[in-house]
């Protein structure tokens, strides 16, 4: 069977992940219920005229995809597959607001043109002149996982050799205000915010972009191999254990074989019980969490995938992401589990190479 290697990564998040190696500096947050991605200087990769025109999501996507491609020494990939929960909500909001505020008059097409969910993937393809396969998945918290699965299948069936895969989400003030109204975002008065031992509803919301180059061959830059991935639309809390165990079973792996589990805890008391089940199942395994660093957004799990890839390549778990005190001398298998609001449950298994 052809293996799927993670050969390049690029990340923009609420941490300074656009440069540096692996979370050496940490920005901690307990007081903001929305945290924004730390922005790099875009001039090196995007012409100044375009920087002004592009939404944050497109810029972040171009920057991080560029970084991942460079690291893997790929100029033009065979395919570009993106995942985004809310899509290009900045331009979408801008256009809708113009429609409503100006009663459908005096509109210009620019923001409409840039509002489609596939704009990031399309702009990357345009920039690279990549005429290959180009897909965008938009299913909430499994948008990125859908892209990963698609890429893995294409490498296994030899339809492609090198695929660019990413998860991107941007925010707008209006969407954030709406999420505050329905308590998807934590209430100000519930400070200090924490992901572990939280006692409040909702999440600290954020944005970001994480890209990866997946290939069918190992390189000096390789981080890990993507072994398996599965996702499921809805589960009861009582079904999570079975979901995880049958996934491991079908890959011939035992719970003890997992050297670290990366959990998507986001501090929402209504839904973090799902993760309690998982952490109980893996009580003897080093546990990792990351959404206190990245915040929550539909494709935050792509940041988790970045963390997991770095753990295997660097063979260490930075203290900032440790959920328990357990460590191992060698990390071979890492399992990721994520869900959002009780839906879109995903499992990803990666292995040291």
């Amino acid at each position: 069977m052809v293996k799927t290697y993670i050969n390049g990564v690029g990340s923009i998040s609420a941490q300074k992940t656009f440069e540096g190696d692996f979370l050496e500096e940490i920005i901690s947050n307990e007081s903001e219920n929305v945290i924004y991605a730390v922005q790099p200087s875009y001039k090196e990769v995007i012409p100044p005229a375009s920087i002004r025109r592009m939404s944050k999501g497109v810029k972040m996507g171009i920057f991080t995809s560029n970084k991942a491609l460079k690291e893997a020494c790929i100029e033009v990939p065979d395919a570009i597959i993106t995942g985004t929960g809310m899509g290009c909500v900045e331009d979408s909001d801008k256009f809708l607001k113009a429609i409503l505020d100006n009663k459908e008059q005096f509109l210009t097409p620019t923001s409409f043109i840039q509002s489609t969910h596939n704009t990031v993937g399309a702009q990357i393809a345009l920039g690279l002149q990549c005429k290959g396969y180009n897909f965008t998945y938009v299913n909430g918290a499994v948008s990125f996982e859908s892209a990963l699965l698609d890429a893995k299948l294409q490498l296994e069936t030899s339809e492609a050799n090198a695929i660019l895969v990413g998860g991107i989400d941007e925010t707008t003030q209006h969407t954030l205000d709406l999420y505050r109204l329905v308590n998807f975002i934590k209430n100000e008065k519930d400070q200090p915010f924490s992901v572990l031992n939280s006692n409040s509803k909702g999440v600290v919301f954020s944005e970001g972009s994480n890209f990866f180059v997946l290939e069918n061959q190992q390189k000096t830059s390789s981080y890990a191999t993507l072994e398996a991935i599965n996702f499921f639309n809805e589960l009861k809390i009582s079904e999570v254990g079975e979901f995880i165990c049958s996934f491991l079973d079908s890959n011939g792996i035992k719970i003890e074989t997992i050297d670290a589990i990366v959990l998507g805890n986001n501090g929402d008391t209504q839904f973090d019980d799902y993760y309690t089940i998982a952490s109980t199942l893996f009580s003897k395994t080093p546990q990792v969490y990351y959404k206190h660093l990245s915040g929550e957004y539909n494709t935050a799990s792509s940041f988790g995938f970045w963390v997991a890839s770095k753990i295997l390549k660097n063979q260490l778990i930075p203290s900032a992401v440790k959920m328990n005190d357990l460590t191992k001398d060698n990390y071979t298998y890492v399992l990721l589990y994520n869900q959002y609001r009780g839906k879109d449950h995903s499992l990803i298994l990666i292995k040291k190479c």
Partner: protein
């Protein structure tokens, strides 16, 4: 298969409209827009309340119109495939949408802040919420995802579904797309100046642009094992597909139809067919000046001067965006089942750039392979080939 469109609420109604030449383009009734006198649309003549009743949704549901259309069509598809227990085998649902729950968002955008009762629709904006609502309604538990690549979306949902069956990830998958009309898309295409003020005329020299439409359609794809085990009747086979990017412009298609050419080429290669094996093309044919020229040139590049009969069915339904490739997949299968090719209505004057002429009359011919094209913003080009069972 299941479908709801401007020309019918079932597969049978759609087929009858196609063969009797009954088009569904009308004045707009259900959306309050200042453009209502300047445009025509392919509208499904049910109010949201009527759709809720059809589905017997509970009072507190948060289904957008997009989700309701999806659920009506997906439910029909499941019934048509005679599925008793939707979770009896590894089942997935892959749905395409371009605007998701925009119809609700644009209605309540400011009202959300003052009126608590509409806040259930806040999360409906999310494309994923549409898929979740439909999957939940069907009782489906499994791999559920959504694709949004503008007007080629549903073709890509079909491709991913076929891939998941072929690689053994799933035994059965419901694939298709849905989009409801919205002020957002009406104004978007209006600003791009590609909305016709009359009936759309694909591949006509004097074409003035597209009519927007709304629709949803789904197809049930099953593995060979499931078909054998349950002694299923196969409606058609998906034998090839291709996806490519034009990498030319965010919205416009390249002049030589590079992306479309590559998509058709890939699909033919995968199906192991020569261009001459294709009996009929269900073209994207939106009736915009740019699309029809670009698609026509790509067709000539693939088929030389002897292209098979082709037509665009968009004069019947309007351009239904992310649902277009799904409803046209249903039409392609109907073509194969009945050995019939649907007319390209409203065509009068051949385009001056080439000699391609769409068929304008309902035409009978034994069909083995039908090729269906769909292209979208972002240079997204998709082709699916359907073959007779």
């Amino acid at each position: 298969m299941g479908i709801i469109s401007a020309i019918g609420n079932t597969v049978e109604e759609n087929y009858n409209a196609l063969i009797s030449g009954k088009m569904g383009i009308t004045d707009i009734e259900y959306i309050d827009t200042i453009h209502k006198n300047e445009i025509k649309v392919g509208e499904i003549k049910f109010t949201n309340q009527q759709l809720e009743q059809l589905l017997q949704l509970p009072q507190d549901n948060n289904f957008s119109r997009t989700a309701m259309l999806a659920t009506i069509a997906a439910k029909q598809a499941v019934e048509n495939a005679k599925i008793q227990d939707i979770n009896e085998c590894k089942t997935g649902f892959i749905s395409a949408t371009s605007v998701g729950g925009m119809d609700m968002t644009e209605r309540f955008y400011y009202e959300y802040f003052d009126n608590e009762s509409c806040r259930k629709y806040i999360k409906s904006q999310d494309a994923g919420d549409t898929t979740h609502n439909t999957a939940h309604y069907l009782g489906l538990k499994g791999l559920v995802t959504a694709i949004s690549t503008a007007c080629s979306s549903a073709a890509n949902a079909i491709m991913m579904g076929a891939k998941l069956i072929e690689t053994g990830q799933l035994d059965r998958v419901i694939v298709g797309g849905t989009d409801a009309l919205s002020k957002f898309t009406i104004n978007g295409f209006k600003t791009l100046m590609i909305l016709s003020d009359t009936y759309n005329t694909p591949f006509d020299n004097n074409r003035k642009g597209l009519n927007l439409g709304e629709a949803a359609a789904y197809l049930v794809l099953e593995s060979e094992n499931i078909v054998k085990k349950n002694n299923k009747q196969v409606l058609a086979y998906i034998t090839g597909f291709g996806n490519a990017n034009d990498a030319f412009h965010q919205t416009a298609s390249s002049e030589n139809g590079e992306g479309a050419f590559l998509a058709m080429q890939k699909a033919l290669k995968m199906a192991n067919l020569d261009p001459s094996d294709i009996d009929y093309i269900n073209a994207h044919g939106t009736a915009t000046p740019n699309n029809d020229l670009s698609e026509g040139r790509a067709i000539i590049r693939i088929f030389n001067e002897d292209a098979p009969e082709f037509s665009s069915t968009k004069p019947f339904t309007g351009h239904t965006l992310a649902a277009a490739a799904a409803i046209e997949a249903v039409y392609s299968v109907l073509a194969l089942q009945n050995d019939i090719m649907f007319p390209n209505k409203n065509f009068q004057t051949p385009m001056e750039e080439f000699n391609l002429r769409p068929i304008t009359k309902l035409t009978q011919k034994p069909l083995q392979h039908v090729l269906s094209n769909s292209f979208g913003f972002g240079g997204n080009c998709s082709t699916v080939i359907f073959s007779k069972s």
